[in-house]
Amino acid sequence: MWHRDSDRFRLFTRRALMLGAGKGILLTGLAARMYYLQVLESDRYQTLADENRISHRLLPPPRGLVTDRFGAPLAVNRQNYHIMIVREQTPDVRRTLEILDQIIDLGPDTIERVERDVLRRRSFVPVTVRDNLTWDEVARVGINAPDLPGLIIDAGRSRDYPEGPHLAHSLGYVAAVSEKELNGDPLLELPGFTIGKSGVEKVYDLALRGTAGTSQVEVNALGRVIRELEREEGDSGNTVVMTLDLDLQRYANQRLSDKESASAVVMDIHNGEVLALASHPTYDPNAFTNGISHKLWNSLVNNPYAPLSNKAVNGTYAPGSTFKMCVALAGLEAGIITPNQKFFCNGHLDLGNSRFHCWKRGGHGWMNLHDSIKHSCDVYYYEISQKIGIDRIAAMARKLGLGEDTGIDLPNERSGLIPTKDWKEIQLGKRWQGGETLIASIGQGYVLTTPLQLCTMTARLASGKAVRPHLTRDKVTPEGVTSRQAEEFPELQVSRANLARIRDSMNGVTNELRGTGYRARISAKGMEMAGKSGTSQVRRITMRERQTTGVLENDALPWKYRDHALFVAFAPVDNPRYACAVVVEHGGGGSSVAGPIVRDLLLKAQELQSARQGISAANQPNSANLHSTPASNNQDEG
């Protein structure tokens, strides 16, 4: 029996040793795995552990300020206090909110929303109770803090436009980042972060945005912050100094305020600095910063006078007679006309089967260059444009800045349209008709311009240089702000003598008796302006209308069929400095409606200039003469 037992023992021993060996192999496997994880792959897992543990939080930088040319603040950052609640720090969320409701009014909706939000988040995550607290409310909450466990008052920043609607169109506004604008920049994903959506805020958004700081915090698996490991403050955005003169800008808005829809631009003819850029009606950009209400948005979008649109750069209008300088200059430069060459105006010109009318029934008689601009005779331009041809006119228009972007630092600029024969062939597939040249010569037909282009044209006529408008004093790039290298614009490649003749003719418009703009002249000595009116038709006047009722007066027409009133001018005549263009949509006659606005803006610009140079403008007896109207052409040109 025992030897049998020893059989059994031997078998046991053998099998136990085999089992032990098997265990040894398995344990070696564990050791090998441990070595693999903790030595071979250690670096990778170390990184993963840090990624778990360390959370990088962005610190949004303060947005750069925007000021006018003299440093007056136009866009600033306001402290914005909001009150938040942390669930785990209060024994009873509802009770705390009810006490708070007695201190600052919350309303049952807010309480309900907060209660819902609080339960959806982790207990340590603050939930915003109310935004935009006044200082008074902050103080009241602060005093009652012991009764309000779990409440935190947090100061953020929000964009503020102290001038409100005055600069809405050039400044633009900021608003929350939309889904489409997310480009992977984590800054854009921060809650409450805003970016420029329009105007200078949009164009220089990157420069204004600044660089974000970072805070490295250690978090646990639930995302609760345990401690801050490292903090690096960001850089605030660059301050952008605009070329606008706040006083002139305000005045421009005020001057347009009694029109339905109008725009005005004032610029420096030498360096292209835009001093005022107004589009009426306007809106309050502050409404956008904290999220615009649906109702307000709809009312802005559905307003027939399009307050959101900056008409000075994206409104296009037939320039009407303000285009005549361009045609005349093209004729002079091409040597096709001479200043004293005369054409007879009998009130109309027949070409083929069509009859082209002058705005003045019965005609102007014999007209030379000077008189054609002064009286804005249409037939003169019908005559010379046939000789010059549309392509030469178009080339001159482009030289003067029409038909292409001015390059102003604003979004959505429209380039207008200067037609050529090729353009018509390509775009419309039709041959250019001779009559179309005639229509174009008085700034009608296909010709379209923006008020800013007209102002640029006037500035180029006055300075003889290819000035381009811009809105910032310095060059602003995402990298920073560098001063503009005394921007010398190239010469226009137009004879100075011819330019002088055009300027002299424009002087005739405003400063000679019977000039179409004489009533809108500046009488102040040394501040006189030279300009040109324009009245552009938006409807077709039929033969039947001419023969039956006669051409209908604007007052007899619905608003949207009335003529656009335009006026361009520069001042002072002797030593030009400022150019101005005004377009009043469906306003009626250019010289009677737009002219006085241009006059007032150019006068104001010069007065402000004198006042700033310490020269009193008070002794200039300008206002006395403003409204004394000598007998002159009472009727506006067509």
Binding site: D5, F12, A16, R33, S42, Y45
Partner: protein, 387 residues
């Protein structure tokens, strides 16, 4: 040497209690205390440097368990032989009882409250099964183990509790019971081809058995096969565990400085994933040291078994040692992502009273085998009068 027949009072192999205490394997006791000590330290760290809520309770349990271990160790091995079937049936009845109670509406409560301590019948079964099987095979000759008919009772002895535990459902314990039972079969000399047959059958049954697994169990297996598939769901535990271990590196992040553990990225750090925490805070060096301690304990078990002169003792010794090994292997392999997540704690280190008790009781039996190693016991068990 002739077979002896004796009464306890006149037992020639009788050893006085004092002598038995001297014969106690104090080295083994020391190793067990060291492992438990590491456990206390890790529980202290898991509670962010506090004895509450885990370390202190674990120490008290260890104190009670260690005392029980020594009492069992100095108890005559033949008493355990005699109690083997009895304890097996008690455990089986208790298992059936909690099963019925659970069905009646006590939910997932799988224990019986004894006041000071909650008895989990499945834990009791782990020890009882080893004892009962050892007792059974102690009575069989090498030839007997070759007979299929004689293998049916022990197979049923394994199958019954395994089925009950699987129903609970407790996959980890089921595996431990089957593997622990298999070890005894192996040591008793069951032919290799029979193992091969059963293993082959089991593999063939996997597709069928798969359908009986609960949804979460299936997920665990699937997640094991591809943990990155679901990094925030079921794969989260294993992914975070591997990150914790790997980031520990060679020397670890330092005591109480494990970011994965202390910032709660690591789940269940005081129980099933305590090895991960140790690996994170003490690195490869710490993990290897712990593994070395386990190897020493297991080797000790083998030495005891091989030096034992009776088959019962040998089978019990390797049986409990193997159960202990399975705990260690399954747990560590699981936290390192080598096998699917099964709820098996790290013996002596993980927080938990029942497992601590089970392990200490089984070490008590192991030491009893050691102390009484020279006692020869006949196949029938010595004092039933038959030879």
């Amino acid at each position: 040497m002739a077979a002896s027949k004796y009464r306890i009072g006149e037992d020639p192999d009788y050893v006085p209690i004092g002598r038995r205490l001297l014969l106690l394997n104090w080295t083994l006791v020391l190793l067990i205390a060291a492992l438990s000590g590491i456990g206390f330290a890790m529980l202290y760290s898991a509670a962010n440097g506090s004895l509450q809520p885990w370390a202190e309770r674990q120490m008290m349990r260890f104190a009670v368990g260690a005392a029980l271990m020594i009492v069992i160790a100095v108890t005559d091995i033949r008493i355990w032989l005699k109690l083997a079937y009895f304890s097996y049936f008690v455990a089986l009845i208790l298992l059936i009882a909690v099963e019925i109670k659970g069905d009646i509406g006590m939910g997932a409560q799988r224990w019986i409250n004894l006041g000071f301590f909650q008895l989990q019948p499945s834990e009791l079964m782990k020890i009882s099964l080893v004892l009962a099987l050892a007792r059974y095979f102690h009575g069989l000759t090498v030839e007997d183990t070759g007979r299929i008919t004689l293998l049916i009772p022990p197979i049923l002895m394994v199958a019954a509790p395994s089925a009950l535990v699987l129903r609970q459902p407790d996959l980890g314990t089921t595996l431990l019971l089957i593997a622990g039972g298999g070890v005894i079969f192996w040591l008793a000399g069951v032919r290799v081809w029979k193992f091969a047959l059963v293993l082959g059958g089991a593999l063939a049954a996997i597709p069928i058995g798969w359908q009986f697994l609960r949804e979460y169990q299936k997920n665990r297996v699937l997640t094991f096969l591809n943990p990155e598939n679901d990094p925030l769901g079921a794969g989260y535990h294993i992914t975070q565990s591997k990150i914790a271990l790997g980031s520990g590196g060679l020397f670890g992040k330092g005591f109480m400085l494990g970011s994965q553990s202390h910032l709660n990225f690591l789940p269940e750090k005081q129980t099933d994933f305590i090895f991960t925490m140790l690996g994170e805070e003490f690195g490869l060096v710490g993990g290897m040291a712990l593994l070395a301690l386990y190897v020493l304990v297991i080797a000790y078990g083998y030495v005891i078994a091989l030096r034992c002169q009776n088959q019962f003792g040998r089978l019990v010794a390797i049986g409990v040692t193997s159960t202990f090994f399975l705990y260690v292997f399954i747990n560590i392999a699981m936290v390192m992502g080598l096998i699917p997540v099964v709820g098996v704690p790290l013996p002596l280190v993980s927080y938990g009273g029942t497992v601590m008790m089970t392990i200490l009781v089984s070490f008590g039996l192991l030491m009893s085998v050691s102390i009484h190693r020279d006692i020869r016991i006949s196949r029938q068990g010595n004092d039933d009068g038959r030879t």
